[in-house]
Symmetry: C2
Subunit: 321 residues, 2 copies
Amino acid sequence: MTSSDLLAPTTTQTVPRLIALDWGTSSLRAYLLGDEGTVVDDITVPWGIMATPDGDFARALESVTGTWTNRWPGLPMIAAGMIGSAQGWQEIPYLGCPTGLDDLVAAVRAQPAVPGTSLKIVPGVALDGDIPDVMRGEETQVVGALALDSGLSQRSLLIMPGTHSKWVAVRDGRIVTFTTYLTGELFAVLSQHSILGRPAMAVAKESKPLVPAWTAFDRGVRTVRGNPGRPLSSLLFSTRTLVLSGRLTASESLDYLSGLLIGEELRSALSQTADGFACALIGESGLCQRYRRALDLFGVDHAQIIAGASPAGLWRIALQL
Amino acid sequence: MTSSDLLAPTTTQTVPRLIALDWGTSSLRAYLLGDEGTVVDDITVPWGIMATPDGDFARALESVTGTWTNRWPGLPMIAAGMIGSAQGWQEIPYLGCPTGLDDLVAAVRAQPAVPGTSLKIVPGVALDGDIPDVMRGEETQVVGALALDSGLSQRSLLIMPGTHSKWVAVRDGRIVTFTTYLTGELFAVLSQHSILGRPAMAVAKESKPLVPAWTAFDRGVRTVRGNPGRPLSSLLFSTRTLVLSGRLTASESLDYLSGLLIGEELRSALSQTADGFACALIGESGLCQRYRRALDLFGVDHAQIIAGASPAGLWRIALQL
């Protein structure tokens, strides 16, 4: 115990109850959760399952959570994400759709972890058919979002922007279907490796803008919205021609490209969605702001941004174990 | 003169009339053309305008065509492609649409080249508006295709697959509009730099297939055709999930991806095209075969492949100068 612990009044002292892990492909986020699932402490390391030192998941877990487990031994531990995939620690079979909290809880499996404790791992969810789709980790964020805002349970669309964006349709508290869009990865490969990224790369060393060029971003979104018959692959080239013709600066060009890509995702996803749904964005804050802005331009002005969905979902699932 | 020249009967000896250059971003193709525009000789070097040694266009031209000009001094020379862009030898302003042979001929400019000779450079064509588009070199291939097959003049769709595919609509011998699709570049960046290319990369060293996996390619095309409401960015992820679920092998995966990308291009371009048009494919032979196969799956079975459009177009333009 440190002196600051001694000084803190014991009545407001939060007692840790759970160690919750969001263990994905590229990073490991660990949360120390107290009563009601409040986040007492958290740590993020770049030890996703593809970058765990020596592929030793047990040692990585011990290293990340050691400070907590030394002080509060025997805390239960739960994880969601790619750690439950074939490339992870233990493969937990996917659940089909529709699926909800009870199904996820029933399918959780235990992986012996640090001596004396097992790590509970949440399964992912899959869609079968000609165009199969999968998620691992997002199902837990859905559970968390519904716990944080009960208004989302009956009928909602949960949007999770990222490298592989997920759009999840929820009915009566269950995931009924979902779609993955490669938007984030398309942006990364096009801006880093294609002709579209060259002008921005040339000026990037001089000045890296701190805020997005919103006018250029909006223009990209509006270009997609205003040209319903033209698919993304025919609109992308305008990122180059607008710069060549002096109507877009090099430093604005990537925000225009971002607007095109996010606009295409919204155009498609919203066209398959009936009205009257609640709508929430879950993910990295800056990216959620971009999506909310684009949603506004598509006439969807009621999207709220939900933070902390992952630890909230892990808490909710652990409560039922 | 070599002995073989002496042995050849002089009556069938082709006298060179023109040096014709297709000088693009990544390569320089030079043709020695005889009467009627027949190709007497040709040479291709990787000296596109971005890779010309020392950026010295005059020396590159002399080096490539020296054997011909030493033997037949004073041959006229003409070029089309990016050599006429702002990054090329001399910027030739774009023409607007509609445009035809006469307009192109009138806008050709001369660039002093090797001593005593100038190089005539053909302009590109541009579309203005919110989604600007440009071409340089393809306009000359259009002229060549119409010269090689007069059936294309009245009303046709010319498809030029490549890094930046062009679809050109022709009416009464003139280019009325065109659209660029980033299909080839999307395939390159996704297969080389995204998660979709990883399985194929892992097996590529073991066995590089000599022929495309046509079944996988067809499946990609059909997936796009059979899912009209789903855009490319939501179908791309199936390249990964089909491999993960064992329904596509790693070595087939890139041909499936190719089918998705070409299918998306066709789905979009054909949806904007009325019936009753002649249709031709112009470009690299293997790629044209892919497109013809995909067009068949979309019910367009009358697409012919046209070879030699570039020298034919340069010949046709030079005739009018």
